[in-house]
């Protein structure tokens, strides 16, 4: 299975509502139900690409710092009245934001 680092991107399509101003992203334990009580990062809406997809760089989300292991990614849309819509849940994504440790036992040999 591929592992995703900080430069990977969440890819999705917005719901058809014209009044969406932001998306909220939550990371929660893999294969569990998303919960509005889970802390989230809120990202202002950006224009979609030509195929209608919106992208969010995972490493830009403070709540993604130090992700290591499998998580579900839950995304919602927020309208201009502050109302939050239903979840899109991306299941069991293997994140690895933790860099490897330092090599050991180093020396320069002739």
């Amino acid at each position: 299975m591929s592992q995703f680092g900080p430069t990977s991107r969440i890819k999705f399509k917005q719901p058809p509502d014209a009044d969406i101003v932001a998306n909220r992203v939550r990371f929660h334990a893999a294969n569990t139900q998303p919960d509005l009580a889970t802390p989230y990062d809120e990202v202002p809406v950006t224009p979609p690409d030509a195929d209608g997809f919106t992208y969010i760089v995972v490493g830009s989300l403070p709540k993604a710092a130090n992700l290591d292991g499998e998580y579900d990614v839950a995304i919602t849309a927020v309208d201009d009245a502050g109302q939050e819509g239903a979840f899109l849940d991306i299941d069991a994504v293997d994140f690895d934001f933790v860099p490897p440790g330092a090599p050991t036992d180093g020396s320069v040999v002739a």
């Binding site: 990977s8 991107r9 719901p15 009044d19 997809f53 502050g82 849940d89």
Partner: protein, 139 residues
């Protein structure tokens, strides 16, 4: 003649996300028309209790708060949208109402017209995690 409840009120739900109505807040305003249902005037010094109620469209409604005001006083309040999403609001008015002998009793109006919040947005779709692409990652 027994005067029934108060004549009806005007309840308006101010536009969402207007300058005077911050994001995440529903701004409600209303005003009594100053008359009983038989079109006689409510004395200006009478205190009217305006009760704000909420519920699904068409009711039933649950009382949320009460506000004292005059018979024609313009009233307003701001309701934080959560925990009242997908709701409609109505207002009733309660005031002393004289019967034919002049005896006062509390009478409550029928509810005003509904002021309903718009529904929340739908869910995003087609979600996946994508690898970085050339030139699209901002560090």
């Amino acid at each position: 003649m027994i005067r029934a409840a108060l004549a009806l009120l005007l309840l308006t739900c101010a536009g969402i996300a207007q300058a005077a109505c911050p994001v995440g807040v529903t701004c409600l305003s209303w005003q009594g028309d100053g008359h009983y249902t038989d079109n006689t005037t409510i004395p200006a010094n009478f205190v009217v209790v305006y009760t704000l109620l909420y519920g699904v469209k068409g009711g039933p409604y649950t009382a949320l708060a009460g506000y004292n005001g005059g018979p024609t006083q313009a009233m307003s309040t701001n309701i934080k949208t959560p925990p009242y999403p997908k709701t409609c609001f109505v207002v009733t008015a309660t005031a002393d109402t004289p019967d034919s002998t002049g005896k006062l009793s509390k009478q409550t109006s029928v509810p005003s017209g509904e002021a309903c919040q718009k529904p929340p947005p739908g869910a995003p779709s087609n979600g996946s995690i994508a690898a970085p692409s050339n030139g699209s990652v901002v560090h």
